[in-house]
Amino acid sequence: MQLQVKKENVYVPDLARLVSKRKMSGTETLFEFEFVEDRLRDLFDYRPGQFVQLSMFGIGEAPFSISSTPTRKGFIELGIRRTGSVTNAIHNLKLGDIVGIRGPYGNGFPLEALKGRNLLFVAGGIGLVPLRSLINYVVDRRSQFGDVTIFYGTRNPSEIIFKDELASWDALDDVDFLMTVDKGDKDWKGNVGVVTTLFNKREIDPNTVALVCGPPVMYKFVVDELLKIGIGRDEILVSLERRMKCGVGKCAHCQIGHKLTCMDGPVFSIFEVEQLQEAI
Amino acid sequence: MGTESIDIKHIARVEGHGSLYVTTKDGELVDVKMAVDEGARLFEAFLQGREYTEVPEIACRICAICSASHRVVSTKAVEKAMGIEVDQQVTDLRRLLIWGEYIESHILHALYLALPDYVGHESVISAAADFPDVVKIALKLKKLGNDLQILTGGREVHQVTPMIGGFSAYPSHQDLEVLRERLQDARSDLQVCLDVWAGLEEPQFERETDYFALRRDDEYALVGGDLASLSGVRAPVEDYKKYIGERIPEYSFAKAGIRDGHGIFVGALARLNINRDLLSPFAKSALKTLGIDLPSYNTFHNNAAQLIETAQVFDMADATISSLLSSDLEWHEPETTPKAGKGTAMTEAPRGSLVHSYEFNKNGLLKTADIIAPTTMNYTNMEEDVRALFPQIAGGSKESIELMLNRLIRAYDPCISCSCHVAKVR
């Protein structure tokens, strides 16, 4: 499937405009962009799990997972954490400001293979950003999938993002949503404990595809739980993060062993990840 | 009235940190102290024990403004100590490096640091708004000087290519041609600067003193030659100590040059006075443009002298490039072996005479170093000039006195970072 909007120079970004900005936490904001060219708004199609390269002209370019779902067209949402030059500049954008976007890149989640399957989402912290795309996709096309369970954990209540949306997922009858924080505060009434503690609260069918995204430290523990349940290594999917300069398999920064995160990933099965020494 | 002091802490628009303390009583001058506030770096001491090959590299860090002069004169002193000869190509390249330094340094000093005073600005930065054209020309000329230094020395400050016995890399014929053309083109730019300067009014202040510079019979001496004075001294540079003494003012980190109890003057004006019969065509015409009669005893003429010398150097650079273009410029590795010995070399840095004198042991390790920089030599003379000028300006406001004193010191193009590691007291 060739989703890339065809153009001659793959490195040249298309212009996009910031249309809304929603602060999600102290360091994370959800940005909504639309392409300046009408044509692109319709043409730009993507798969959950893919990412774009966003240019802040004169500052730099960085990869971000698309957080919106292709089932809702016309705009792209990116949830971005303020960490360095590019992300700082993005946070300083005003509505209407112009950025560059190219993509989408990467394999994304294997939608065909997921159809009809039970899905377990496990998100840690900002890892929810890329998973949200697939979650909303599934919510919008709920009938195409089996059981849907979502585990979400953050370090503390102040780091919870997409609060409204979490509530809306929670409200759905056909989605089982659970969340936890490592450490609560005085107002926190929900679960306390790392995200793996949620596994004690639900019986997960071994015939499930698990979709995991979170900080590097989280993977190992979550994967152990999933393996215990009996989910196959090839049915545990993670999204990896690497330094990336081109997004299209040339600059070699995201190479892990013999795979390129940008081309062969960022979504990999745990089987592949374990084959790739030094992957996580 | 009563005792009053005029303290010019941090003399501005000079290189390095210097202060001037003037004490007056009832409008009369009582005391003048120029202090160098620069941290003592002790070059002559830590040079001891270093290898001869790295001595020039270390010694040129004494001062960035004259790094090329330090580098070349230090190299020559080492070569003299070890009896190392170099070929014409190497000599020419060194000369060209120095010419680059002259253009850069003289333009910097005359047009960036001194000129603002003449046009009522506090700096070239503020002057740039009112005189954008002159400032742009000055930038262009300065860059030309720097590019000459880069071409021959690898970098405009603290060159990297000069080595004992030669260079680690040579420029190409093509690069030299390009620079020669740029030098040609820049003549008109320099003429603009000369014309601008001719329209300025220099303060009238005359005080005859002992002018010292190099002198050679075949050319306007900037490198090579004997030590000479306007009063008729002529001696081999090895005898420098006979003529240039030093004292250590207890209020300063720097030593001060002295001869028979009074100051000496080195620098562009001294050179011009001493070598006035050897001016090149462009320098002669520059002299005419500026309308200065030589010898001149007006310290403020030192800046004009710098511009005249820039014209001189334009002609000399042209000749040196011709000489280089007629050689093969085939690079060869300079190979030298250390030897015990003593070597003294003297050159004219843009701001005045500069001496490096070394002694090495048989392994080529430095035993002793004696380095006298121009600002050191001028030090006593500056204080004497302040005394002499004071009565002339005493009637003015404190601000105007301060400004004039600043201008006087600046006229010397002092390099205060240079002066703080001067020779041994004898």
Binding site: G58, I59, S85, N88, A89, N92 | H10, A12, R13, V14, E15, G16, H17, E38, G39, A40, R41, L42, F43, E44, A45, F46, Q48, I58, R61, I62, C63, A64, I65, S67, L108, Y112, L113, P116, E122, S123, V124, I125, V135, L139, K140, K142, N146, G154, V157, H158, V160, T161, F167, S168, A169, I248, E250, F253, K255, C415, S417, H421, K424, V425
Partner: protein, 257 residues
């Protein structure tokens, strides 16, 4: 901010040769552009009227070589938003730091004779030994390009680019013949890149003026130098020539020569 909304800048010299300040003046092509971006309110070397601060950005040249400079650099730090140390003296102590390895009073005597009580010389240290430094532009002198990069970046709120590797990386990209392979004692392998391998490109060995590269493998460099004939003393001198501060680093103390 300065009066005109531009960031205010102070340029200061401690003990040094003024080469880094001169190198700012040497940016002839862009000097006027720099003045468009920032407001230089203090610069004794180039201006008669100098403000007492505060400054958005302070550039400090030179090492701390006498007692009074400790106070001075602290004052500058207090009054500055961002402090940038420029040049080897400010970042690593610089070449005059060679004196740290000898007896100061003996050296003072050598230079100034008996009459030297007023000479206030302390062991030379980089600016960071006394105050927090936000950015360092190493090199003897600092690179003009790096100065421009930091000015632009600070005005734009961007992290200035700095190469995280050694001079060899640049040297090889420039297709130079490796001087170590010619038996010359080059410090390129362990020296912070950013000078565009200036010295090796000019046929001269890297003297290490930009200080250690990130994670520099010193032990390997020692081995290389000794293999081509350097004595332990040669190696020690090479390592410390421009960077006396290196002597204080634990990795250096553990190094076998």
């Amino acid at each position: 901010m300065g009066d005109n909304g531009k960031p205010s800048v102070g340029i200061f010299g401690l003990t040094g040769c003024a080469g880094c300040q001169l190198n700012i003046l040497n940016i002839e092509d862009h000097l006027l552009d720099i003045l468009n971006l920032v407001d230089i309110t203090t610069w004794v070397m180039a201006k008669q009227e100098n403000s007492e601060g505060p400054w958005d950005v302070a550039f400090v040249e030179g090492s701390v070589a006498k007692k009074s400079e400790i106070e001075r650099v602290k004052k500058i730090r207090e009054k500055s938003g961002v402090l940038v140390a420029i040049g080897a003296c400010a970042t690593h102590g610089g070449l005059p730091g060679l004196r740290n390895f000898r007896d100061i009073s003996e050296m003072t005597q050598i230079v100034y004779g008996e009459n030297n009580d007023h000479i206030d010389a302390i062991p030379i240290k980089p600016v960071s030994a006394y105050v927090d430094v936000d950015y360092e532009l190493p090199g003897c002198p600092m690179e003009k390009t790096e100065f421009l990069e930091i000015v632009k970046s600070l005005v734009m709120g961007k992290r200035p680019y700095s190469a995280q590797y050694s001079v060899c990386g640049e040297c090889k990209a420039l297709e130079n013949i490796c001087l170590l392979k010619e038996g010359k004692f080059c410090m390129g392998p362990v020296t912070q890149a950013g000078c565009n391998a200036l010295c090796p490109s000019n046929g001269a060995v890297c003297e290490g003026c930009r200080g250690p590269a990130p994670e520099a493998n010193w032990a390997a460099e020692v081995k290389i130098l000794k293999k081509i004939g350097a004595t332990p003393e040669d190696v020690r001198r090479k390592f410390l020539k421009y960077c006396p501060s290196v002597a204080e680093m634990p990795e250096f103390k553990e190094l076998e020569f």
